[in-house]
C-alpha cells in the first residue's frame, strides 16, 4: 500500500514537477500515465526513495519514505527508465549480484536468479554477455531482477519503451508473473489497459483522474472516435488530424465518407485533452 501525502517536487527555479499529490495506491497493478514531462518519473523516483521531495511525504507499507528510507528500501525494487545492463556481464551474474546486494545468501541468490531468468524466458541466454541480447531480452533481465527480489512493491518506469510489439508482449507476460504490487509508468495506453487494475492520469504534476480503465472510459460510453483528413461537423484539429467523438450508430456513415472509425481506448483520455501521445 502506498499512501502519498501532499507530495511536491520542484527542481531549482524550474517548474513544479509534482504538485501537491495526495493519493492512495493499493491495487495490484497501478499505472501512471501522462505525457512527457507530466511528472510520472519524478513521482516514482520520490516514492522509491531515489529523490527527496521538496515537501510532503509518502508511506509505503507503513514506512515513511523520508524518515525510514532504509525500511522502505527493504521492501521495494525499482527498475529505472532506460536502465541498461552492464554489457560485459551476463544476465545471471547481474541478477545474482543485485540479489546479494539485497542480502540474499550466495546459494539463495544463485537459485533465485536462475529461476527468475527461466521464468522470463532467458534460460538459454542467461550466461551470454548482456551486450549480445536484444532490447526485449535486456528488459526481461530487469523484470527478472524484480521477480527474483520478492519485493512487496515493484516500481517499473516505462518498462517497454522502445520495444517491438512481440518483445512488449513478452515483457508484459513477465510482468504479470511478479508477486508484489506494481506501480508502473507508461506512454503506451494498450499497456496500461492490459496490465492495470487502476490507472492514474497525471498532467502538469497533478493527478487529474484515477480509476479502473472501465471507469475512466465511462464518459465515452456508446461513442466512437472518428478521424478524418478533411474537416467534419464539430471536429477538432489535433495532431494533424480532424477528430470527432460521435455515437456508435453513426459509424457506418463516417466509414462511407472515408473517415477512420476507431474503438475508444485510453488514448482518448489524452486526445480529449489535446495532448500528444506516443502510440
Amino acid at each position: 500500500m502506498i499512501e502519498i501525502k501532499n507530495i511536491m517536487k520542484k527542481y531549482g527555479n524550474g517548474p513544479i514537477a509534482v504538485n501537491d499529490v495526495t493519493e492512495t495506491m493499493s491495487k495490484r497493478v497501478t499505472t501512471l500515465i501522462g505525457r512527457n514531462g507530466a511528472g510520472k518519473t519524478t513521482l516514482l523516483r520520490m516514492l522509491s526513495t531515489q529523490l527527496m521531495p521538496t515537501s510532503g511525504t509518502a508511506v509505503i507499507n507503513g514506512h515513511d519514505i523520508i524518515k525510514e528510507p532504509h525500511k522502505v528500501r527493504n521492501s521495494i525494487v525499482s527498475i529505472p527508465q532506460e536502465a541498461s545492463p552492464i554489457g560485459i556481464l551476463t544476465p545471471y551474474e547481474q541478477v545474482r549480484m543485485y540479489l546479494i546486494g539485497r542480502r540474499f545468501s550466495l546459494s539463495d541468490a544463485s537459485l533465485a536468479a536462475r529461476q527468475a531468468l527461466e521464468t522470463v524466458g532467458l534460460e538459454i541466454s542467461m550466461h551470454s554477455p548482456s551486450d549480445t541480447l536484444s532490447g526485449g531480452m535486456k528488459r526481461k533481465m530487469f523484470v527478472a531482477i524484480a521477480l527474483a527480489s520478492n519485493a512487496e512493491i515493484v516500481f517499473l518506469d516505462e518498462p517497454t519503451t522502445g520495444l517491438d510489439p512481440l518483445s512488449r508482449l513478452e515483457v508484459w507476460s513477465a510482468i504479470k508473473k511478479l508477486d508484489g504490487n506494481i506501480l508502473l509508468t507508461t506512454h503506451y495506453m494498450e499497456e496500461a489497459e492490459n496490465l492495470s487494475d487502476e490507472v492514474f492520469l497525471q498532467d502538469a504534476g497533478k493527478i487529474i483522474e484515477r480509476g479502473t480503465v472501465k471507469k475512466l472510459l465511462k464518459k465515452f460510453s456508446g461513442k466512437i472516435r472518428v478521424e478524418s483528413q478533411s474537416p467534419l461537423d464539430g471536429s477538432t484539429m489535433l495532431g494533424g488530424m480532424h477528430i470527432l467523438y460521435d455515437i456508435v450508430e453513426n459509424a457506418e456513415k463516417h466509414v462511407k465518407n472515408g473517415a477512420n472509425v476507431k474503438k475508444i481506448t485510453l488514448d482518448d483520455l489524452f486526445i480529449m485533452r489535446g495532448v500528444d501521445l506516443e502510440y
Binding site: P80, Q81, A83, S84, L89, E93, M97, G101
Partner: protein
Amino acid sequence: MNIRFIFTFAWYYGVKIFSRGPSYVIASLTTPLSLLFIVYVLTQGKLVEFAVVGGMISLIGSIGLQSAGDATFMKLQLRVQEMYVASAVTPIDYMLALTMSFLTFSIPGIVVYTVLGTIFGLYNTVTALSMVFLIVMLTLSTSAIAFIISGLVKHVRNVWGIVGILSIIMTVIPPTFYPYTDLQNFSTSLIYILSISPVTPAAISAQIIFGLEPWNMAILTYSLLTLVAETVIYFAIAKYLIRWREN
C-alpha cells in the same frame, strides 16, 4: 556493511571484466611503464628505483582516478546506481564494492611492479607491508576522489577529459618518479600544494620507508597522517556527493 555484496560485486565487476576484456588493465600499465623507461634512460639507471616504487604508487592512483569514468557511466548511462539506491545497499557498500573492483584492475600492475621491486631488491617484510598499506589507502582515497567527480559531472562525456587532466596532475607531477627532496629544494610550498593529491604523501612515505631517501621521521609522520586524513575526508565528501538520494 554488506561484505558479501562488496566482494561479489568486485568479483563480477573486477575479476570477470578483467578476464573478459584485459585491454583496460594493460592500457593503465602503459603510462607508468613508459615513465619508468624514460627515467631509466634519462638518469642512466640512477633513479630507476624511485621509478619502480613510484610507478606502483602512480599506477594505483591513476586507476583509482580513472574509475570516475566507470562510476559516472554506471550512474548516468546504465542507471545501475539508481537501482541500488532503491535497495538494501548503502552508499558505503556501493562505493567500497566499486573500489574493490578497481583494486582488482590494479592486480596485474601490482604484480609487474612487485616483480621489478624484487629484482631491484627493494622488498623486505617492512617495505612489503608498508606498500600494502599505501596501496589500500591510495585505492580508497583516489576512488573517493573518483566518486566526487562522478557526483559532480552531469554528462558522461565530460568525465574522460577531467580524469585525463587530474591523472597527470595527481599522479605524474607529484614526486612519484623523482626524489621528493628535489621538489623540496625547488619549493617547499609546492609539496604542500601537491599534497592535495593523496599520491604525494604516499610517494613521499614510500621513498622514506624504502630507504630511497634519508630517514626523516617528521616528514614520514606528516605524510602518513596526511594520507589517512585525506582518505577519511575524501570518502566523507564522496558519501555526500555521490547523491545517493538526490535532492
